[in-house]
Symmetry: C2
Subunit: 419 residues, 2 copies
């Protein structure tokens, strides 16, 4: 029997305990030994829980227990979790974590602490989808040309609702909060930070690249309106919030933002709270992984997969898929060097000379227009542009210049087009 | 360095060699050691090949070579391949195979020969999609409620063409043959046998069940016409050829056939030669895996994934995912016990009393009609039925009885509806 201690018995932790009980026979048959949660750490001992495991408020009750084989860290947060995982690894425990924030900041320090013991984290990205394993093992033959992931269920739920039902952002957000798909403070999800953490974990497996969240472009979905969604529809696109990794020569562009994608692409078809990750390898081509990205049972399913892997003795591969460093690894591309087609929306006063002024500033920054659409109502007009391939730095400079013009009514909206 | 011998250096074998050369640096970094193909076995030594590995026509040159660590079997076929894999395993080689027919018939005998050495077969199902690994590890926490796989690219290509372009079966088949998506003798693909082999491999991982192709229901796509496709469209369905595993109580239904599926399901959206497998677990819910199911590079990508796994020392898990047998495993459900809604098409003489006769025979076999549509042209009529949930045995008996009636012009077509 393998004994497991869970630090942070919340929704996911309770699901782990329940799955190991409900599916005990088949999990034992697959793992070869019984997996049993014997201890849990919680913040509040007085809260009523449906479990008979030994609970305490002190992580050391698990970390210092010689009988505990595997520590499952489900407390979330960065600093405290780091201390606990660090101590667990130093104490030669195997560790399973679902903590994407922890890994986004400290994954390489933690990897360095593994000395034959395991640090597993299938649950940290895209919940129930075994994407970590797919990237780490299944696609190992390939140079990964791109990853495009719908890896935040809140954003995808909201964009889907806005697209299918024509509902405004604020209203959908409220609905999402009522349904439990968005937090009371939704910034972490809809601001793109959650997706960024997950993207960095995937990027480590694909490229062996050590990058922190603050190094990459992170944008959310707060600026997207029905205007943008309708325009996308009209031109055969869907707006999705994506975590993107893309190689360009010897560098890799890592970024999180909403994007126009062709409605015929498989990831364009992933709706609601579901997650999906498209990975293009130089040899295999595109593969795509779809499933529930959150929820107690889905996340716990991934945690238990890691536990089974440890029990089978097959979890000792390299933590992020690289046994040795690449001699010539990829560098992080500069944000300014992104090239893309861009969709831009301006709300302007409807008066003579406006279009000319905007067009001339675009030209000044080497931005060439592919499509233009104007929609007027009363004294204001909405100007919608799609550019030919342009450089991010030029777009940003043009937007800065145009934004300050007196006839601009609100912050211009720019959405990149993922071709 | 790990030395590899390939038995059967054809398209896939050549791709394996090329991938290991092209991506040598990153594969070595991931595997920890260099993977090098040093020997190959071919049928014809005189054929010109772009490789400098040592070739022979005798498999024993690889199997008896003490320097060879891994035998990759890519020759296909059952009997000869079985001898070779058996000898390789007995000689303590690790074996990687892409041979689904071999595994469909002899997987448990071969598993029994593994004594600490590996039998890996990621490439045997759905080419470049790491579905074996996903089922074996990633979803291990779950009872698998269902698997529905588009696992034959030829069938999917043909059905997609027929659906999107309204082209007749025979014409699409000819096109598929010209494009290399279908063999000169296409029976193995379009008759459903290829999909059946793959399904049985997946079923072993999901359920630990030992079943041979002749034990299960296997149907192809040869009877499907534009009439059926148009009817499907009209009612919000798409016709796909599926490998299906589905638990019902203590048994599992395994079958391969065309089916109506709701056009909004993710697997309904998989078009062309692409493959995709939807797996529903009792805890995680639905996950779906999409990608190229065939082709030299895609298949070789999966072979190399297995090689990396072996090099890392993480390939020693249970061959089909079970360390121990299940005490109460699932039994194979009888074909007769399938329950489903059914779509049925009759071509009949357009005369008085025909519908009454058919309807009364349906009623006699407890088949209740949900939807009925009649299309007449000249002296013939097409009768299209959708039934409420019925039993397979009743449907088969009703079809048998109706088929022999004098006004029936051609073999009735029946397609199950996967709800």
């Amino acid at each position: 029997m393998l004994k497991i201690g869970i630090v942070g018995v919340g929704t996911v932790g309770a699901s782990v305990i329940k799955i190991l009980q409900d599916n005990k026979e088949i999990i034992t048959a697959r793992a070869g030994v019984e997996l049993r949660v014997t201890k849990g750490v919680v913040k509040n001992l007085n809260k009523k829980r449906e479990t008979d495991i030994v609970l305490s408020t002190n992580p050391d009750d698990i970390l210092d227990d010689k009988d505990i084989d595997i520590v499952v860290e489900l407390m979330g947060g960065v600093d405290e979790a780091k201390k606990i995982v660090t101590k667990a690894l130093k104490n030669k425990k195997n560790v399973v974590t679902a903590n994407k924030a922890l890994l986004a900041y400290h994954r390489y320090e933690l990897e360095a602490l593994c000395k034959g013991n395991t640090l597993a984290y299938e649950a940290s990205v895209a919940g129930g989808i075994p994407i970590i394993q797919a990237l780490k093992n299944g696609l190992g033959a390939n140079h990964i040309k791109s990853i495009r992931g719908i890896i935040n269920g809140t954003c995808n739920y909201m964009l889907t609702k806005m697209t299918n039902e024509g509902v405004a952002f604020e209203k959908v957000l409220k609905e999402a909060q009522e349904l439990g798909y968005a937090e009371a403070d939704p910034t972490f999800d809809i601001g793109g930070f959650d997706a960024a953490h997950k993207l960095l974990i995937l990027a480590s497996i694909a490229y062996g690249i050590d990058v922190k969240p603050e190094d990459i472009l992170i944008e959310g979905i707060g600026d997207i309106s029905q205007e943008d969604i309708l325009f996308a529809k009209e031109f055969g696109f869907v707006i999705k919030h994506l975590g993107i990794a893309k190689t360009v020569g010897n560098s890799v562009s890592l970024r999180v933002h909403a994007a126009f994608i062709d409605k015929n692409e498989m990831i364009a078809k992933i709706d609601g709270v579901m997650n999906g990750i498209s990975v293009v390898g130089d040899k295999v081509g595109e593969t795509m992984y779809y499933g529930p990205g959150a929820g107690g049972n889905a996340t716990a399913s991934a945690v238990v997969a890691d536990l089974i892997d440890i029990a089978r003795g097959t979890s000792n591969g390299p933590v992020f898929g690289f046994k040795k460093s690449l001699e010539q690894g990829l560098k992080l591309a500069k944000k300014d060097d992104i090239t893309s087609r861009y969709y831009i929306r301006f709300e302007v006063e409807d008066k003579i000379g406006v279009l000319e002024k905007i067009a001339s500033l675009m030209a000044k920054f080497n931005i060439s227009i592919e499509t233009f659409l104007q929609k007027s109502k009363k004294e204001t007009a909405t100007l919608l542009f799609v550019t030919h391939t342009a450089k991010e730095v030029d777009i940003q400079n043009a937007l800065k210049a145009i934004k300050s013009l007196d006839f601009i009514k609100s912050k211009p909206v720019m959405i990149r087009i993922e071709d």
